[in-house]
């Protein structure tokens, strides 16, 4: 399969990327592990692909009570990164994404804004209270991930919005977190995935693969799953997926608690 005709431009810095993105039907490419497959299927037919993969937006750094993850950080880099205690879910999730080749190129920023309803890391970022820093021609803004994800492959970001930072608050001392999923055996995408953060006095669970977007469970996880809008498809009926959601939420909670000192 061959993508539809397109033009390619490599951005030299963030301002240059924003300028290039001002053209009609321009699309950002980073690792390309989500975009190129949909370009080959011709679901995406950008007239210009703006390559940001050589910008300095990678790496993991803890400062000011938060962990800053450059959006171009690959899954492989993230899986190997030293993270503060309590953020175990990030490395656990990164190690299991796609396969070795996809982890070598696929980036956290690209995955999050692709907004696949079954992608793994958004659930982890939601459970951990993750936020995105966005640069646009109007300036800089900071937005929570739940406000970005609107629906399947749909975000609140505009064509000239570029993610420049993925920010995760450092959890309180003694916290633990975990990610658990049941995958479709061929695609590797989550039929149901759950991320859990166990801190003293509070537990947060977020699900992926079961609804229009990954989402945080409010209140008791079992009751929230029973009341949630869950979809069914040819791989897993609604009833089966709801059952899986309970299982993965429980598994994530058990390992998050085991990692916490709460």
């Amino acid at each position: 399969m061959i993508p539809a005709a397109t033009r390619y431009a490599r951005a030299t810095d963030v301002d240059h990327a924003l300028e290039l993105l001002g053209g009609p039907d321009a699309k950002v490419i980073a690792g390309g592990q989500s975009l190129i497959p949909v370009m080959k299927l011709r679901i995406a037919r950008p007239s210009l692909v703006v390559d940001i993969s050589r910008l300095e937006l990678r790496g993991v750094e803890e400062r000011g009570g938060a962990v800053h993850i450059g959006p171009l950080t690959t899954w492989a880099e993230l899986a190997d990164a030293a993270l503060p205690a309590g953020l175990e879910a990030i490395s656990e999730c990164a190690r299991g994404i796609g396969d070795l080749q996809v982890r070598n190129l696929g980036t956290i920023g690209g995955s999050v804004v692709h907004a696949d309803p079954a992608s793994d890391m958004p659930a982890v970022l939601l459970a951990l209270g993750g936020r995105l820093a966005i640069r646009s021609p109007e300036g800089m803004r900071d937005i929570s991930l739940s406000e970005v994800l609107l629906g399947p492959f749909t975000t609140s970001l505009g064509p000239q919005d570029l993610v420049t930072d993925v920010v995760v608050p450092t959890p309180a001392a003694g916290s633990g977190s975990a990610y658990a999923s049941v995958e479709h055996p061929a695609s590797g995408f989550a039929l149901a995935g759950a991320a859990a953060l166990a801190a003293s006095g509070a537990e947060t669970v977020a699900l992926t693969g079961v609804g229009a977007t990954p989402f945080v469970l409010q209140g008791d996880p079992r009751a929230a799953i029973a009341a949630a809008e869950i979809f069914g498809d040819r791989f897993a009926s609604e009833e089966y997926r709801r059952g899986l959601a309970v299982v993965v939420a429980e598994r994530a909670l058990i390992s998050a608690r085991a990692r916490s000192r709460a």
Binding site: A5, T6, I36, D51, L100, V102
Partner: protein, 154 residues
């Protein structure tokens, strides 16, 4: 519209004229005659098109050729110098790591990436690394044994 591009493949700088939309696997096979990168599924699943990019395994059907300008690309043709055999290639012969051979270039390059990070990988690590390479002949046992043998010899 074709434009000039330079790729560094197997240590040589090669000049080609390709469309912006050209995928790396097509540039390698159709423009440079390096047909060791196979097209299997063409949907980023099977890993037959795997090549090394700066030493890391990537699926060349899921990379635009222009994205990898000036970076080091290694295909199966360039894994061992001067027409010799790489230790992985020898091990695959000795341990029945292949049958039809279609998936083999991709599997070997994935294994080369794994061994560059972990010189004595456990069977679990080998199987985890092979997740993105489909083989429909061997049942994987021979592949795992071949990679384990190279790890043990290191």
């Amino acid at each position: 519209m074709s434009r000039a591009l330079q790729l560094v493949v197997n240590g040589e700088t090669r000049s080609l004229e390709i469309d912006d939309r050209t995928l790396l696997v097509h540039a390698l096979r159709d423009e440079l005659g390096l047909t060791g990168a196979h097209i299997g599924c063409d949907t980023s699943q099977c890993g037959a098109c795997t090549v090394l990019l700066d030493g890391r395994a990537v699926k060349s059907c899921t990379v635009l050729a222009r994205q990898v300008e000036d970076r080091e690309i290694t295909t199966i043709e360039g894994l061992a110098p001067d027409g010799g055999m790489h230790p992985l290639q020898k091990a695959f012969v000795e341990h029945h790591g292949l049958q039809c051979g279609f998936c083999t270039p991709g599997v070997i390059l994935t294994a080369a990436d794994l061994l560059s990070r972990d010189d004595a990988p456990s069977d679990e690590a080998i199987r985890h690394a092979l997740r993105g390479n489909l083989c429909r002949c061997t049942g994987y046992q021979g592949i795992v044994e071949s990679i384990r043998a190279v790890g043990a010899a290191s």
